[in-house]
Subunit: 400 residues, 2 copies
C-alpha cells in the first residue's frame, strides 16, 4: 500500500457513500412492514425475514449518524425513521426491556435475555432523536440507557445459567459497551453522570480486564479481578480487545476537550496503543495473514470451533484503532501495522462484484459464508469503520 | 479399502481395546477427587479440570457397557465406579435435576438448563446398575428417566428464551434421545411403558421430523409438524439425522424380537436406510470428502460458522448406521457408502502418534483443534461406534 492520507480518506468516503450505504438502501428496506431485512445473500437478496433487534437498532444508528455527521439527506433520515417507527412500536416487552428478535411483522420471538439489545437501542434512539428532533425518541433512548445501568450487574437476569457463588465471572463486554454508549449519549446525559460513568468504565477496562504483564485484554475475570483457569477465564477475543482500545482513546480525547487533565489522557492513549500492538502481535496469523477470532491465553485449544476464522468486524475495528492511534501518537509501528492490516482487509473482504463486504472468511481468507448480512452482520461495522477511518485520515491530511 | 468382514471386526476390536480405552484409562482418571478429566490435549495431558456432566455420565456408560457386554474386567468396573460415586454425590440439585457442569471437586458451576444431562445420567446409571448390581444406581437411573419424561415438553424450563406463542418449535433431539435412552433402559422399564415410548418416538422421528419429499431429517419443526422458514426451521444436522436412523433400526430389531410385527419392522429398517443414503447424498463434500456439520435445507448460508467442519462423531455414527443398514438389508449401495466413509474416516481422524482420535477437522480434513477431549468430546462416540461396528462385522462374518 502506498496511499497518501488524502487517498485513504477518499477511499473510505467513496466506499461508504457510493458502495456500502447504497447497498443497504437498495436491499434492506422492508417497505411493507417497516424495519429492515438484514439476512441478505451475496447479491443482496433477502433469504430470511426475521428481525434481530441488535441489527435493527444498529441500522437506525448508522443512517441517523450519517444524517447528523455527514449530510442532511432526507433519504437517510427516512431510512432511520422506518426502523425507529417499527421498533418503538414492537421492540420492547411490557417492562420496557428490549427483545432479542421479532418476526417480520414485529411479533416477539426471543425474550430480552441480555442487555445488549437495550445498549444498541439507547445508541440508535439517541442518534435518531438528534437527527429527527423527536422527544419520544429521546425518552426511548434514556429509558434503554437506564435499563443497561440497572441490569449491568446481572446482564442475563433469570436466563443466567451460572450457579450462584461457585465462580462469578464478569465480562469485558459490559464496561466496554457502556464506554461507547455513554460517549454516544453525551448530549443527553448530565456532565457529572457522564464523567462518572466514563471514569468507571476506563478503570474497569484498563484496571481489571487488562493483564498488565501480557498486555492482553481478557474477556472474563473473577469478581475480584483475578484470572480464572477455565475456558471463559482464558478467553482472548482479539477484535473485541482492540475495539475496546479505540473506545478508550475516544474517551481520552473527549475528556481532554472537557477538562484539563491532558497528561492523564495522553497516558491513557499511550497505554491503549500499547495494548493494540500487543494484541496484534499475539493474534496475527503468520501463515495466512489476518487476525484470529478467538484464542486461549494459555495456548490451549479454545472452545470456539470458529476460532481461526477471519471476521470482517475484527479487521475493521483494528483499522479504526490503528488509524486513531497513529493520528494521536505518530508512532511508526502503528503506521506499519495499519498498512499490513489494510492490505489484508481490503484484498479479502470487499465483494467487487455485488458490493458491500463479506463477513466470514476461513483461516485461509476464502469466503466461508457468501452473505452480506445475517443474524449478526448488518449495516453497522462496515459503515461505522469507514466513516471513522475517513475522518481519521482527513485529520491526518489536515495536520500535515 | 479391501477388508473382509473379519478384518473389519478385528480392526474395530483392536482399536477399541488396545488404543482408545487404554488412552482414557491412562489419562482421564481423577484419582484425587473422583470423576474424570475430559479436557485432554493431543498427548493426553489435562488442560482443564472442569467436569461436564454429559461427558462424566458418558464415560460411566462406556466403561459399564464394556463390563456388561465385552468382559468382566475389574479395572473397567473400577473406572465406572469412580465416576458414579462422584456424580451420585455432586451431580444433582436439590430437586434431583442434573447440573450441566461442576468444578473438579464437584461444586456446581452451571445450572440444569436442559434435559440432556438427565438423559445421559439415566443411560450411565442404568448400565452401571447392571454392572455393579447397585440398587442406588438403579434408583438414580429411574429418577433421571422420570425427569426426562416430565420435562420433555419444555426441555429448557425457565431458561427457554423463546417468546411463548409466536413460533413454537420442537426438536428432533428430544424423541431421538428418548429412543436411544429407552432402548438402553429396557431391563428397568415395564414392557408396556417401553413399547409405548418406543412407538411414540418412532412416530415422532419418522412421521414428524422426516420430510418425506426430500428424505431429510429436520432438526426443528413447528408444533403441528410443519416446516418454518427460519434459521432453526431450515437446519439440517446430517450426523444427527444419520444417528437417529440407526436408533430407528435398533428399535426395529428390538421390537422384532419381542413381538411378531416383522413386516412393520422391515419397513422401518428400509425407510431408515433410505434416509441415511439421502442424507449422505445431500451432505457429502464432493471437493474435500467428509460430511458437513450443519446445512440449510434451502441452500441458504447456515447460521453456524462451523458448518463446513468435519467432526469425529458425525463420521463414526455414519459408519455405525451404514454397517447396520448393510447387515440388515444387504444393499450394495450401503456397502459402497460404507467403504467411502470408512476410507475418509480412518485416514483423517485417528492420531497415529499418541492414540485416540482427533475430533475437529476443518473442511479440508486438517486438524483444527489438537485435542482428544474437551467440553463436548469425551470417552463416548469413539468407543461406542467401535464396539458397535465390531459387533456388526462379527455378525456379518458369522452370516457368511
Amino acid at each position: 500500500m502506498t496511499f497518501s492520507y488524502r487517498d485513504l480518506a477518499t477511499l473510505y468516503r467513496n466506499a461508504l457513500l457510493n458502495n456500502v450505504i447504497p447497498f443497504w438502501q437498495k436491499n434492506s428496506i422492508d417497505a411493507q412492514y417497516g424495519g429492515y431485512f438484514t439476512c441478505l445473500d451475496a447479491e443482496g437478496k433477502v433469504y430470511d425475514t426475521d428481525k434481530f433487534i441488535w441489527l435493527q437498532n444498529r441500522q437506525i444508528w448508522t443512517f441517523s449518524t450519517l444524517y447528523n455527521q455527514v449530510e442532511k439527506r432526507d433519504s437517510w433520515l427516512e431510512v432511520a425513521a422506518g426502523g425507529a417507527d417499527f421498533l418503538s412500536r414492537y421492540g420492547r416487552d411490557t417492562d420496557g426491556n428490549w427483545f432479542f428478535s421479532l418476526t417480520r411483522r414485529g411479533q416477539p420471538l426471543t425474550q430480552p435475555y441480555n442487555i445488549f439489545s437495550d445498549c444498541f437501542a439507547a445508541m440508535a434512539f439517541s442518534q435518531y432523536a438528534m437527527a429527527s428532533g423527536s422527544e419520544e425518541a429521546k425518552e426511548i433512548s434514556l429509558q434503554a440507557y437506564d435499563n443497561v445501568l440497572r441490569r449491568q450487574q446481572n446482564p442475563k437476569g433469570k436466563y443466567n445459567k451460572a450457579y450462584p457463588g461457585t465462580r462469578s465471572l464478569k465480562s469485558l463486554a459490559v464496561p466496554m459497551i457502556l464506554a461507547n454508549l455513554s460517549l454516544e449519549m453525551d448530549w443527553l446525559l448530565a456532565d457529572t453522570q457522564l464523567e462518572q460513568v466514563l471514569a468507571k468504565t476506563v478503570s474497569e477496562v484498563m484496571g481489571t480486564f487488562l493483564d498488565p504483564e501480557q498486555g492482553l485484554m481478557y474477556e472474563h475475570v473473577a469478581s475480584d479481578g483475578s484470572h480464572v483457569d477455565c475456558y471463559e477465564g482464558r478467553l482472548i477475543n482479539p477484535g473485541h480487545g482492540i475495539e475496546a482500545m479505540w473506545f478508550m482513546m475516544a474517551i481520552a480525547q473527549k475528556t481532554n476537550q472537557r477538562t484539563s487533565q491532558g497528561q492523564q489522557d495522553a497516558q491513557l492513549i499511550h497505554q491503549a496503543t500499547e495494548v493494540v500492538l500487543n494484541i496484534l502481535d499475539f493474534a496475527w496469523d503468520e501463515q495466512y495473514g489476518g487476525l484470529y477470532y478467538f484464542m486461549d491465553a494459555a495456548g490451549h485449544p479454545p472452545q470456539q470451533l470458529e476460532w481461526d476464522q477471519k471476521l470482517w468486524w475484527v479487521h475493521l475495528e483494528t483499522l479504526v484503532a490503528l488509524a486513531m492511534a497513529y493520528r494521536l501518537t505518530g508512532r511508526e509501528d502503528c503506521w506499519r501495522w495499519y498498512q499490513k492490516v489494510h492490505d489484508y482487509t481490503w484484498s479479502h473482504f470487499p465483494d467487487q462484484q455485488s458490493g458491500e463486504w463479506y463477513g466470514y472468511l476461513n483461516r485461509r481468507g476464502e469466503v466461508l459464508l457468501p452473505l452480506k448480512g445475517g443474524k449478526w452482520k448488518g449495516c453497522f461495522h462496515v459503515p461505522r469503520a469507514m466513516y471513522l477511518c475517513w475522518q481519521e485520515f482527513e485529520q491526518l491530511h489536515n495536520q500535515q
